[in-house]
């Protein structure tokens, strides 16, 4: 089971790497035409292609690129001649910082509210939070971010509305500038997870064993904490993983809105500059993070769920 998951994860990353490579390959122009711009013709173009190794076959270049990526070498950017691994390092750390802060705020809030709304289904408290959650998850991040900046930064003046810290600065310097981006990201995250936890709690509470416990006269809170929640929260782990993947898109927008020096803004810049090696590298990193997060979620579910654990031990 575990090996199978690992294998499937690796296959997914491999397919993504092929899609990325092929996708960039079919685009008109290459790193050299982008770098040389108008002078991209004749001898100059040939020399450049030779220097970059672009005149070899696509399969050869894919192999080079993929094996380099496995060793942590993502190649060099098209215009800066800098190592992409170096460029990406700080940016990745910053994006992870943003994501981790949002998770730390969002997940406990979401689980708490999800359980409350699930237990109080269709009561006022449920209607209020469920409806708010739908709004929070479907209104574009740039809209909620703009409104929050307007209220907390422009009108009230409590928090900085824009990040001015440079990419390489130590983590401590990102506070308090990171607060508003974390709130926006955390809000969307909370909304997604809350809905899943809620429906999971509802499903569990009508289950046979909960009904049985109620009939036996087990105290309500005992039922909730001992019987229902462990079963309801297990599926939530996978949902958190899925949500993270979905949010990677939103992170890009949030980073642009707040001028946050993360991977997402770097990607937008790279796409605007047609810096294809950087785009490829970021896409690969993002896909790997996604697969890694899902794998971790599967592992956690397996460890926490006795049924799956015995299955895994038996090797089925």
């Amino acid at each position: 089971m575990l090996m199978r998951r690992l294998f499937l994860g690796a296959i997914t990353v491999w397919i993504v790497s092929v899609i990325i490579f092929a996708g960039v390959e079919v685009l008109p122009g290459d790193a050299c035409t982008a770098f040389l711009e108008r002078e991209a013709q004749g001898k100059l173009l040939e020399n450049c292609r030779e220097a970059q190794g672009l005149n070899r076959s696509a399969a050869e270049r894919y192999f080079d690129w993929a094996s380099g990526a496995l060793r942590g070498d993502l190649g060099v950017s098209a215009n800066g001649q800098k190592s992409i691994s170096e460029l990406v390092g700080n940016r990745l750390r910053n994006s992870l910082l943003l994501a981790v802060c949002a998770l730390a705020v969002g997940v406990p809030t979401a689980i708490f509210l999800g359980v409350v709304t699930g237990l109080r289904r269709d009561k006022p408290v449920d209607l209020v939070f469920s409806t708010t959650a739908v709004f929070a998850m479907t209104i574009p991040e740039f809209v909620s971010a703009t409104v929050l900046i307007l209220v907390f930064s422009v009108w009230l003046g409590w928090l900085p509305g824009i990040v001015l810290t440079s990419a390489g600065a130590p983590v401590s310097e990102f506070f308090p500038e990171i607060v508003l981006p974390v709130i926006v990201l955390g809000m969307v995250m909370t909304a997604h997870i809350l809905r899943m936890v809620r429906s999971s709690v509802i499903e569990v509470m009508v289950g046979d064993y909960v009904q049985m416990a109620i009939l036996k006269g087990v105290p309500y809170w005992h039922i909730v904490f001992r019987h229902a929640l462990p079963n309801a929260l297990l599926p939530a782990i996978n949902v958190v993983a899925l949500t993270i993947a979905w949010l990677l898109g939103g992170v890009v927008v949030i980073e642009v809105v707040f001028n946050y020096p993360g991977l997402g803004r770097m990607m937008i810049d790279a796409i605007s500059d047609r810096d294809l090696p950087v785009v490829q590298a970021i896409a690969l990193i993002v896909a790997t993070v996604y697969v890694g997060v899902n794998l971790t979620a599967d592992l956690m579910t397996m460890v926490l769920n006795p049924r799956l654990r015995t299955h895994a031990l038996r090797g089925s």
Binding site: V134, T138, I139, V251, V252, G264, V279, I282, A287
Partner: protein, 296 residues
Amino acid sequence: MTEIAATPAENTRLQRALGVLRDVMARPSGAIGLTLVAFHLILAIISPWIVPYDYKAMDSLLMLKGPSGAHWLGTDHLGRDVLTRVLLGGREALLVTGIATPIAVIWGGLLGIFFGLVGGRLDEVLMRVVDAFLSLPWILKMLVLIVTFGTGIEVLIPTLAFFYGIPVIRIARAATHDVVARDFVSAARARGHGRITVIRRELLPNVLDTLMVEGAMRWSWMLLAFSSLSFLGFGVSPPTPDWGLMIADARGFMSFAPWGVLGPVIALSSLIIGINLTADALAKALGIDRAQKAPV
């Protein structure tokens, strides 16, 4: 189990649709949602005839003026009337997403139903590819295509329709799996019906409810994507009025001219909220638990 009936007569189908519509309208969320959506659709159609000014008429004397009798929502940084641009700002978004959503649901739905029925090795491979696509953030996938082919609506429609059809494959496939195991499908197969007939007469009618709710959800996600792209400068090009673009432009002047931001923010939010309330009511009316679905 009334849905077992192979092809219901035309009028019962219409009656069922009307019944669902009545059910949706009977719920507060459905009534508010449908009203908002209808309001935006009507506005998008008639707005060119009711706007007070020309959307691209600039006036250097009227830059960033606050709301007044002549300009109800003030003017933007180029002296253009904000109300005019807010009224027109949803047309492009509704046009693009209104065409792309049905295409996405149809191609994703049909492919999902087909592979849900057939299964096998090819199905396994397809799902891996779908997973791989879903593991890339939407913004990256779309931007690569848009940067290559340009930013007009003739690029945005197929791009959105393609990428937003991929998750539909998953949903339709899962919904098909629920139906395929039922007796009436086995019966149809035992009668010797071909795949196409089984899909058309047994599977499609039963998966349709799920696809409709899914379509409403896709629509709202697509609007989110479209306006985010506009905001980032990869969507419609100026001077075309668009809410995302307007918010991006007006953000810099937010501290002394907040009306430039508030107009498009309220317009865009109300449309998206309307669609979601409608989708919610539709899901409840059709008895589909939407919360179970993955957000991607």
